[in-house]
């Protein structure tokens, strides 16, 4: 009897925490679709605010999508070979390299952004282009790609697989393409989802790195929250939810079969 009471108490607590996370999202979605949030839902439903966001902030949405895909491409090219090397050689040196690569995640984005500005801010063509933001995003997301691929490479017997292929006459690039890449596609996929999601939502760095012509979605959100009415801010948030939801659901579905391994790595 006592255990049942304990169960209900914990369930109640967990439901309360759930409500804490979900209720504001629902409120915000409602506000974005209500004619006048102050009056309430009685004032009627409308897509007027969503349309206003679409007309005013469409560019930020496209820029964010473009940025996150470019960021993905860069982290794939830079990250997979790096992860392979880190898996292949486990010495004090490679551990130190791994440690260094993770630093942009440990150091606040504000500091990284300031460092980039004081170093490259005077190169005006670079400073005003979206490539400037891309550099920041790649720094911040690269560790997630590397760790995700590395986790898979450490779990498989890379050495035996490669030796087998080599004994059959496969050269290095052949082995890399036909053995290594297919074997770590789980890690690549998980890492890719993480990179795109993080790049889409990055604000700490982007706020300092952006210019009036390179506004990303979160930058636009901050703008809208600061200067426009609550309904428009909410509608904009709704747009963000719609864009990020498929990515998050895919990540969750992906994390399920091997929760211990992937979840622990990916969420850090």
């Amino acid at each position: 009897m006592k255990r049942r009471g304990l169960f209900l108490l914990q369930l109640g607590f967990t439901l309360f925490v759930c409500a804490f996370l979900i209720v504001p999202m629902i409120l915000s979605i409602m506000a974005g679709l209500t004619v006048n949030y102050f009056v309430g839902i009685e004032s009627g439903l409308t897509v007027r605010w969503v349309m206003e966001v679409w007309n005013g902030y469409r560019d930020t949405i496209f820029l964010s999508i473009g940025l996150s895909l470019a960021c993905l491409a860069a982290t794939l090219v830079l990250g997979i070979p790096a992860a392979y090397v880190l898996a292949k050689r486990q010495t004090a040196l490679t551990r130190a390299i791994e440690e260094l690569l993770v630093m942009p995640v440990a150091v606040p984005g504000l500091a990284t952004a300031l460092a980039l500005i004081v170093t490259y801010g005077t190169l005006s063509g670079f400073r005003t282009s979206w490539a400037f933001i891309l550099v920041g995003h790649v720094l911040f997301t690269l560790p997630f790609m590397v760790r995700s691929v590395l986790a898979v490479l450490m779990a498989i017997d890379l050495k035996t697989l490669e030796e087998g292929a080599a004994s059959l006459g496969a050269g290095f690039w052949e082995r890399f393409r036909d053995i290594v890449l297919p074997n770590c596609r789980q890690g690549i996929l998980a890492g890719s989802l993480m990179v795109v999601t993080l790049s889409m939502g990055e604000f700490n760095m982007t706020w300092l790195l952006h210019t009036p012509f390179t506004k990303t979605l979160p930058v636009g959100l901050a703008d809208a929250y600061a200067s426009l009415r609550l309904e428009i801010g909410s509608a904009y948030t709704l747009v963000f939810f719609v864009m990020i939801m498929p990515l998050l659901l895919a990540m969750q579905a992906f994390a399920k079969p091997r929760p211990a391994k992937f979840v622990a790595e990916e969420t850090e």
Binding site: A82, T119, F203, T237, V263
Partner: protein, 272 residues
């Protein structure tokens, strides 16, 4: 063999060059610029010697510590509960609790406004109950709430992964020896989850110290270090001070995470 070594270096080169050019070099430059202002290298001590910087350092650390404590308690209870009890709707709850995982700080700030802002739910409820409208979104309490909101999803995932590996036999043994549920929690479950708590707690702390978006959205009266850095940089154009402060901030978060890594023994990546 030499061939292989050369190949490995070649494979590491792109990431290495990128990282050196866009992180190591800029960070070194930031460090020197921090010492190039009116006060010289003393700028690095200003965070301790100047009253206004020191007080914002204290409030930053206080919010971060409170966030860490609250998040660990909340996620510890909910995480262990969800891992231990399988019931219909369990998966749905886990999905909902981890959904805000990748929300940027600005969106978190807006969620706080939705709950505790001028037109927020808490204000409406308290007005109906007591006649007094409770609004705290734009203060340190609002920031604390936002950071807890932000930290719960990732901490719950870490706790659940760790709880899965706990040996239920230990709890059975403790119970059969007559331990009360409380004693089981204190002597078996919490020690078993300690590494997860340390690593998740360090991430909470570091994120709360360095995050900027939430404070920026809630704005105005909130005097935490990232906001001070931003103001120094933009409004006062005091780039040297901003550089020194952000370098110190970066060092603090990095040290916290490094300490946690040694303490927990497992991999503590960093603040998202």
């Amino acid at each position: 063999m030499r061939n292989e070594l050369r190949r490995l270096i070649f494979l590491l080169l792109p990431a290495g060059i990128f990282f050196a050019a866009f992180f190591l070099l800029p960070m070194a430059r930031l460090f020197f610029i921090g010492g190039s202002g009116k006060t010289g290298w003393a700028a690095y001590a200003a965070i301790l010697t100047e009253a206004n910087y020191f007080s914002s350092l204290l409030s930053t650390l206080a919010v971060a510590a409170a966030t860490t404590a609250a998040t660990l308690v909340i996620s510890g209870i909910a995480g262990v509960f969800l891992q231990r009890n399988r019931f219909p709707g369990n998966g749905m709850l886990v999905a909902m609790l981890t959904f805000p995982l990748a929300f940027p700080g600005v969106v978190i700030g807006f969620m706080v406004i939705m709950l505790a802002g001028r037109q927020g739910l808490i204000g409406q409820i308290t007005q109906a109950l007591t006649g007094e409208k409770l609004v705290f979104a734009y203060t340190l309490s609002g920031l604390f709430m936002g950071y807890v909101y932000f930290s719960i999803p990732r901490t719950i995932l870490t706790v659940m992964a760790a709880a899965e590996k706990l040996d239920p036999k230990l709890e059975e043994a403790a119970r059969s020896l007559g331990a009360s549920p409380w004693r089981v929690v204190l002597d078996v479950i919490i020690p078993g989850l300690k590494p997860a708590f340390i690593s998740a707690g360090a991430i909470c702390f570091a994120t709360a110290v360095g995050a900027f978006g939430t404070a920026f959205t809630l704005a105005a009266k909130i005097d935490v270090l990232p906001m001070v850095i931003y103001t120094e940089f933009t409004l006062s154009a005091n780039i040297a001070m901003a550089a020194a402060l952000s370098f110190v901030l970066g060092a603090v978060t990095w040290v916290v995470l490094a300490l946690a890594r040694t303490a927990a023994g497992s991999s503590v990546a960093a603040a998202g």
